[in-house]
């Protein structure tokens, strides 16, 4: 049973518009959340993270929102650019011991930004 789910396998958006990627989790022990971006034939690269003590974190064009009560987080990309076309993975970790260093990933959302 997947503890981290990205229910939209793909997303297409026009350049300059907003991209919204969603992620749901089931494990209430998760307290740290990350988004990774992956281009074909490359490893995932870290994009942005958020701790459970916050509900929003912003870094340039990227903002992550966390709704703990709904066990839901989202990534907003504004404005979207063609170079943002990639697969985006949501990930989560739980506090404590080795589990605090282990990430559980969602299935990914493929984003296509059209010029």
């Amino acid at each position: 049973d997947q503890q981290v789910k990205q229910n939209s396998p793909s997303l297409s958006v026009q350049e300059g518009r907003i991209s919204i990627l969603n992620c749901d989790y089931t494990n209430s022990m998760f307290d740290y959340f990350l988004w990774y971006k992956k281009y074909p034939a490359e490893g995932p690269t870290f994009l942005i993270s958020i701790s459970s003590i916050k509900d929003k974190n912003e870094d340039g064009r990227f903002t992550v929102f966390l709704n703990k009560s709904a066990k839901h987080l989202s990534l907003h990309i504004v404005p979207s650019q063609p170079g943002d076309s990639a697969v985006y993975f949501c990930a989560a970790s739980a506090f404590g011991g080795a589990a605090g260093n282990k990430l559980t990933f969602g299935g990914g959302t493929r984003v296509l930004v059209k010029p």
Binding site: V4, A41, E42, G43, T45, F46, G100, K102, L103
Partner: protein
């Protein structure tokens, strides 16, 4: 910059072969991880190691083993490769503290025929 290097980008092996995937990191990270990536399933953790000679099973350890004889090197071993182990394998590392982001290698695309 952290560098995580995987020895092969592409590998083709036959069913039943023993397969070694090698990973080296250059940032003195305590933790190292092996994931596999499959369409729709995201990245799933196979094994991880938080110290030399230490290992822990991830979510899908069956059919795999690992070795960490040196801090910088973490090997994934497929004892007897099967077709359902055809996948993209990703190695990662991070510091031995909570809430540390992972640094990934470029991946090894393994095909088992």
């Amino acid at each position: 910059d952290v560098k995580v290097t995987q020895s092969s980008r592409y590998l083709v092996k036959r069913t039943g072969e023993k397969v070694f995937l090698e990973c080296v990191q250059d940032m003195d990270h305590e933790n190292m991880f092996w994931y596999r990536q499959d369409p729709g399933l995201g990245l799933r953790l196979i094994y991880f190691s938080y110290d030399v000679k230490m290992k822990e099973k991830g979510d899908i350890p069956e059919g795999y083993s690992v070795s960490r004889e040196k801090k910088e090197r973490f090997s994934l071993i497929l004892e007897s490769a099967s077709t359902n182990q055809t996948s993209m394998y990703l190695c990662a590392s991070n510091l031995g503290q909570a809430n540390q982001k992972l640094f990934f290698g470029s991946g090894t695309q393994l095909s088992v025929l």
